[in-house]
Symmetry: D3
Subunit: 294 residues, 6 copies
Amino acid sequence: MNTSEENFSPERRAAVLVETLPYIQHFSGETVVVKLGGNAMVDDELASQFAQDIVLMQSVGIKPVVVHGGAPQIGSMLDRLGMDSQFVDGLRVTDGDTLDVARMVLVGKVNRDIVSSINIHGPLAVGISGEDAGLITATSRHEDLGFVGEIQAVNPTIINGLLKEGHIPIVSSIGADDKGQAYNINADTVASSLAAALEAKRILYLTDIEGLRADMEDPESHISEITSSDLQNLIDNGTISGGMIPKAQACLEAVEAGVGSAHMVDGRISHVILLELFTDSGIGTMVLPDQEKK
Amino acid sequence: MNTSEENFSPERRAAVLVETLPYIQHFSGETVVVKLGGNAMVDDELASQFAQDIVLMQSVGIKPVVVHGGAPQIGSMLDRLGMDSQFVDGLRVTDGDTLDVARMVLVGKVNRDIVSSINIHGPLAVGISGEDAGLITATSRHEDLGFVGEIQAVNPTIINGLLKEGHIPIVSSIGADDKGQAYNINADTVASSLAAALEAKRILYLTDIEGLRADMEDPESHISEITSSDLQNLIDNGTISGGMIPKAQACLEAVEAGVGSAHMVDGRISHVILLELFTDSGIGTMVLPDQEKK
Amino acid sequence: MNTSEENFSPERRAAVLVETLPYIQHFSGETVVVKLGGNAMVDDELASQFAQDIVLMQSVGIKPVVVHGGAPQIGSMLDRLGMDSQFVDGLRVTDGDTLDVARMVLVGKVNRDIVSSINIHGPLAVGISGEDAGLITATSRHEDLGFVGEIQAVNPTIINGLLKEGHIPIVSSIGADDKGQAYNINADTVASSLAAALEAKRILYLTDIEGLRADMEDPESHISEITSSDLQNLIDNGTISGGMIPKAQACLEAVEAGVGSAHMVDGRISHVILLELFTDSGIGTMVLPDQEKK
Amino acid sequence: MNTSEENFSPERRAAVLVETLPYIQHFSGETVVVKLGGNAMVDDELASQFAQDIVLMQSVGIKPVVVHGGAPQIGSMLDRLGMDSQFVDGLRVTDGDTLDVARMVLVGKVNRDIVSSINIHGPLAVGISGEDAGLITATSRHEDLGFVGEIQAVNPTIINGLLKEGHIPIVSSIGADDKGQAYNINADTVASSLAAALEAKRILYLTDIEGLRADMEDPESHISEITSSDLQNLIDNGTISGGMIPKAQACLEAVEAGVGSAHMVDGRISHVILLELFTDSGIGTMVLPDQEKK
Amino acid sequence: MNTSEENFSPERRAAVLVETLPYIQHFSGETVVVKLGGNAMVDDELASQFAQDIVLMQSVGIKPVVVHGGAPQIGSMLDRLGMDSQFVDGLRVTDGDTLDVARMVLVGKVNRDIVSSINIHGPLAVGISGEDAGLITATSRHEDLGFVGEIQAVNPTIINGLLKEGHIPIVSSIGADDKGQAYNINADTVASSLAAALEAKRILYLTDIEGLRADMEDPESHISEITSSDLQNLIDNGTISGGMIPKAQACLEAVEAGVGSAHMVDGRISHVILLELFTDSGIGTMVLPDQEKK
Amino acid sequence: MNTSEENFSPERRAAVLVETLPYIQHFSGETVVVKLGGNAMVDDELASQFAQDIVLMQSVGIKPVVVHGGAPQIGSMLDRLGMDSQFVDGLRVTDGDTLDVARMVLVGKVNRDIVSSINIHGPLAVGISGEDAGLITATSRHEDLGFVGEIQAVNPTIINGLLKEGHIPIVSSIGADDKGQAYNINADTVASSLAAALEAKRILYLTDIEGLRADMEDPESHISEITSSDLQNLIDNGTISGGMIPKAQACLEAVEAGVGSAHMVDGRISHVILLELFTDSGIGTMVLPDQEKK
C-alpha cells in the first residue's frame, strides 16, 4: 500500500473520501455480521487487511460482529495429536475428546489470532464463544454425529452489551446445552442465526469463491444479485451444488430471518469488505428478501 | 469529481480509506472548530465541498462546529440600502441600524446558506447566533465604534447540547449584553473563544491565503508549523503584518486557551478540510502550544 | 406596573398566587405553542410583556414554543430595497431574491428581536428556523407563487431536544425541500402543524382582534367557546370571512390534529397570555375538538 | 379569599404574577426547609393556607421540606391517658411509655394531618420520621431526661430521593440509635440540621411571634435582618431571652452550617410563606452568615 | 440460635447455603408482599426474627414490601382512652375520633416498631401510610361504619420509587379520599391490592394458624396447595368458615389480580418466611391461579 | 450433600441463613477476585462446588471475578504433541509454538470448562483472555524465557462492563503487547494486579495447602492472620520458602496495591469459598495491610 501515497494526489484522496460519505451514512449505527472463512483466515496479508477493514467499520460508526469457524485448523491439530476421525455425510463424528480439541482450536487459537490482529489498532476486539453468557443454546444434530450441534436458541444479550460499549465481538461457533455440554456448530449457521437475533442490516460471507454463478462452468455467468426465492429455485433445480449449497442455505436463512441482505464475497480480494460496503462496484453475490429486489 | 470513478481502481480506493483510519481514530469523539471565511463562502463549488467535508467529519465521529462572519456580504447589503458607514482603524462604526443590517445578513442569510448546504445530506445543521441561550456575552469594544463588540464570556451549554444530539452547530458572530443589546463581533475571535470553551482539539481557519510565510514576498518561505511564542515573535518583529495579523492573533488566542492546535488553511483548495485532517500532507500553517512542538 | 406595588396589599398578592395554583398544576410539564403576530410584535411595551409572559410560563414548568411570521416587516424591507412584488390571491409571488429577503428579515431580524427580549431574563430562548435539523420539510404551494411553501412533514426532534434542556424555542416560518431550497410558509400553519407534532396541550394565536364574533358587526356577539364542527359551519355559511378565515382554519387544523384546544386572543391586551392560561376570565375564543365541548 | 376575584382586575392579577417572576427564578431548583410550629398547626384556616403555600412552592420548581414538632399535642394526649410528666430545665423527662406516646402523636397524628392537607392538591406529600432509612441518628441528650435525644448524624438519602421524584417530605422530629431505640428531638434543631445536610438555600421558622426585636418591649424595634455574629451578641448580652433563645440558636446553627439564610416569620399571618419568598416586603427576621449581609 | 454454631459443622453450613441457591435465583429481583399479623407482631423474639427474615430477603436481591394492620393494638388504646366502640357485622364503627386513634396507633406505633426492628440491620425500612403520595384512594365501606374504608385505587409510584432505591416499605392500612379524609382499611385487602398493583410474584399472610384444613376439626387434613377455584368451592360449601374466610378471600383476590401465588403461613413458627421462600418443605397453604397448579 | 436434607431440621437451616446475613451485607456490591488453582480445577466434585460457590456469591450481590492458570494442563498437552521444553529458574522457556499451545489450553480448554460449569446455573459466566479489549498489556519477562510475560498495565474496562451487566468474568492469564504478540503470565500475579485495578475488597487464592505456617514442619503453627510487613519478614528470614513464596508475594502485591485483604485457602476443602466469606471460622491465612490488623 505504500505505493499509493506516491500515486494519489491529495485531491484524489479527498475525492475518494467524499464518495464514501453516502455509504457511511447508510450504515451508521447498523450492525453488520461478517463470517470469516477461507484464505482470509490463513494468509497473513489478507488477515491483516481484514483487521483493518473491521476496525475502519467500527471507527465510522458501524457495529461489526465477526463469526468464524476453523475446520482445517481443527483437522490439523487432530492430526498432530494422532486422533483419527470418522465422517458421516461429510461431517466429522465428534466424540468428547474431539470436541475438546475442536473447541480448544477455535476458541484458543483461531479466535485469539483474530482478536490480536484487530487489537493492534486499539482495545477493541473481545473473543466470545457461544457458551459465554448463554449466547448459543445447542443440541445434538444427530446421535450418530456425537457433539456436532444445531442451534436451539440465541440469546444476544452479551453481544449487544459489548457493541453498546464500542467493542468488536469475535464469535467462535461453539454452543452448549443446559447441562454444560459443548457442541461444535457450523459457523455459517451461527453467523446467520446471530445476524437474525441482532437484527443486522447485512451479513457478509467471506469465502474463496467469486460468488454464485448461473452456470458453475462459466465465469461470465456471475450472479451479482438474486432474491431468496430465485436462489431457492437454483438450489432445487441443481444449478447450485456441492460446497456452494451450505453457503447458499445460510444466506437464505439470514434474509428469511429478517437480515437486510446477505452477501457472498471473495475473501481472497484485498479489503473486500470495504469494497463491498463502501462502493457500488458489485463485488460478489447479494441475496435479498423477495420483496426488496431493486 | 465524476472522473475519479474512472481513474481509481477499487483497490486503490480501499487503500485510501485504510490510510485514513489512523486519522479517524485520532479525532474520534473530539470537537473541531472550523472558521469559514473567504472564497469558500461565496464560490458555489467550494461551498458545496465545504458542506461535504463537514458532514463527513460528523459521520466518522468527529464533532464539527462552524463559525462564520460575513463582512463583504454586510457591506453589500448596506450599499443596496444606501447606508454609508464610517470606519475607525479599519473597523466599521456600527450604529443601531447598521447592527440590525449586519445581524440580519449574518444570521438570516450567510448562516442560512451554510445550514442549507449541509442539510442536503441529512437533518444535521442548526444555525445559532451568539445571542441564543446566552452563548456569547459581549460588550462594546470602544465607544467610538458603537455596537462593535468584544467577548466577555462564552456559555457553551447550547452548543454542547446540540453536539450531544449529533447536530452540527453553525454559529454567527453576534453577541448580546445583559440588556439584550446585540453586538457584531470579529468572527475569528468568536471561533477561538468558542474553541477554548469547548475544549476543542483543533481549530481551522479557512482563508484565501496559503498559510504563513517567513518572508511574505517569497512563496518558498511557507511555514508549515510554528509554536505560539515563535509566532508572537514574527508578529513583534513585523514579519507578519497587515491582514495576516488578526488571523495570527486568533491562532495564538486559541492555543493559549488550551485548544490542541490552530491551523490556517487555504479555503480555495478543494476539500481542504479533509486534506488537513486526514492526511500528513502539511497543508497550511499549524500553530502549536510551546511545549508541544513535534 | 410600578403602581401595583402601591395598590396591592401583601395579602392580596398572596391571594392571587394561590388562585393561580390550579392553573399552574394543570399545565405543568405540558407544551403550549404561542403564535405571535400583530401589535405584540411591534409595540415595545407589548413585546416586553410578551417576553415576561413566556419566561413566566417556563419558570412554572410549562414548555412554551413561540412561532412567528412577519409579513409587514418583509414588505417594508422589500420597499427599502426597491423590490416590487406581485400578488396572487393575496399571496406575494416569491422569487429567489424575494425569498432571500423574507428569510433574512424573519430569521435575522424578527426572530432575533424576540430572542433578545426573552434572554434579558436568562439564557433561555434559542432562535430556530424550519430549515434547522430538518424541522420543516416544504414544497411549493403553487408554481405561480414561486417559493411560497406548504408543509410536507414536521420533524420536531430539534424542538424536543431544546425543550428537554429547558430552552425556549423561537421558530421562524421557513421550511426547506430536500435540495436545500428554502420556502416562506404561512406562520399560522407552521404553528398548528408544530403544535400537532409536539402533542401540545394548547395553542394560542395572538392577533389584533378580540376573538370571533357570530356577527362581525356586533361586538356583543363575541364567541368565547366553539367546537371545531360549529366553527367549520361558520366558515361554510360565510359568517366568518376575510382575514378571519386563515386564523379559523389554523385553529381547526390544530384541534383536528390532536392539540387540546386552540385559542384566538387579542395580542393588544397586556399580558394576555397569562390571563388566558391562568384565569377563568374567558378572554378570546377557544376552539375545542367536537367531543370535548364543556 | 373569594372576595379577591371581585376586587382584582385581570390586569392587576397579571401584574402580580409578573412581579413574582424574579423570585420564582431565584428559587428554582433550590431546597427550602420550613419548620412548622405554633398556630399554623392548629388553626384550620392557617393550616389550609400553609398547605397551599407548600404546594405552590413545589409547583413552581422549588423543593420544599417540612419539619414539625408538636409539644402541645403530646401534652394533651398524655393528659388524656392520665400520664404525668416531670420536667427538668423545661424539658419533659421522657420514659419509654412517654416516648411511645410522643412518637405516636407526632408521626401518627400531627404528621398525618399535614400530609392530608397537602395531598388534597395531588399525590405529593410523604410523611417521614427520623427513624426511616436512618435519616436521624440520635443519642440521649442527658441521662436524667430519658429518651430526649440529640442529633449525632443526618443521612438525607431518603429525603433527596423523595425530592428527586417530585414528592414533598413531611418530617417528624424523631430519631433512633443503632439499637433501634427512638428519641424525641427538638424540632427546631432537626430542621436546622436537615437544612444543612440538604444544602438548603433557605430555612423558615413559623412561630407565633413577629420576629426578633432589639427591645422585646418595643414593637417598633423589629429587626428585619441580622448577621449571625450580631445575633450571637444579642443572645450573649441578654437582649434575646426566654422562648426566643431556642429559635435564635436554631437560626444560628443553620446559617453556620451553610444554609443560605434563616428566617423567623409569624405563622399567624395568612400565606406568610408566599409573602416571605415571593415579595420584598421584609416580613419577619432574616439571619444571614456574617460575610453575606446585604 | 447460639447453639447452632456448636451443632453445625462448617461443611453442613455451606451445604445449607448451596441448597438455598436455586430459591434465591428464583426470586431474584422479584417483589414479595408480606402481610404481618398475629403473634409475630407482639412476640419480641418472633418480631426480631421477622426483621431478620425481611432484611435477608432484601440482601439477596428480593424486594420485600410489608403490610400490617393492628386491630388489637387499636382496641387497647381505645380502652386506655376510655372510648367505647360499637360493632356492626364484627366491624368497629369508626367515627372521627376513633379514626384518629386508629391511625395514630397504626402509623405512629405499630409501623414504627416494625421499622425500628428492621433498621437495626441498616438504613433500610421506610414507614408509609396509604395517604402518602396518594398510595391508597379509599371511600367509605358503608355509611353505618363511618370511616371504615374500602379501596378505590392504588397508585404504587411511591412504593416503586422506594424499592428502586433499595428501601423496604412498611405500609400501614390507611387510605384517604380526595378531600383528605382518612379511612381505616382491612390490612389483608390492602396487602392483596398492593401486591396486584406491584405485580408481585408472591404474597405471604402471616397468621396464627397452620394453614387451611379440608376439615377444620382434623389437623391431618392440612391443605398444602389449592387452586383459586377449588378454594372458592371450599368457601361456597362452607368448609371454610369464620375467621378463615377473610384470609381466604384475600388470597383469592391476590391471585385473581395476577399475583403469582398467595400463601397462608403460621407466623408462630421461627423464621417462617425463610422456610416458606427458601425450602421445599411445604409450610402453610399455597393458593395458585387455576391454570398453574403444579 | 443429599444427606443434609435428612440431617437438618428446617429451623436449623433457617438459623444458618440468618447467621450468614451480616456477611452478605458486608460484601454486598463489592468485588471479590478468586484465583483458582490446584485440585479445585481438576477434581470434578470440587470444580462443581466451586461453580456453586461463585454463583451463590453473584446471587447475593457480590461481584466475583475468577482468574485461572493451568501449568499442568499445558504441560500435558505439550507432552501429547511431543514438544519438549527447557526450563530456566523453574520457568518454562516459551517459544512461539509453545505459547500457541499454552494459550490454546488456557483459553480454549481450562477457561471453557470453568465457564461451562458455572453456566449450568444460568447465563452468567463470560470467558475473557487478557488480550481482549486490551485488558492486560505485557512485555517479555526476560529474553531467555521467550514469551513468558510480565504485566505492564491493566485496563479493567471490559471487566467492569461485564460486572455491571451482572456477568461473571473468567480470566485467562494471557497478555499481549502493542504488536499483538501474546504472552503467558503467572496467574497469581494476574489475579493480584486485576484485584488492584478493580479495587477489590478481597482476593482469595485457592491452593492445595492449608495456609501459611510459622514452622513448615509443624501443622500446629498455622498462621490465620498476618500483616504484610510481618509476611515480608517471614519471606526475608527464610521461614517461607519454596513454592510458598510466589503465593506469599502475590498476597503482598495485592494488599499493597489497595485490595482489602488477601487470603490463601485450601481449595481441597468443599465449598471453601463460602466458608471463607460467610463464616468466622478462620480457614486459611489472611494477609492484611499493616495498618488494618485486627
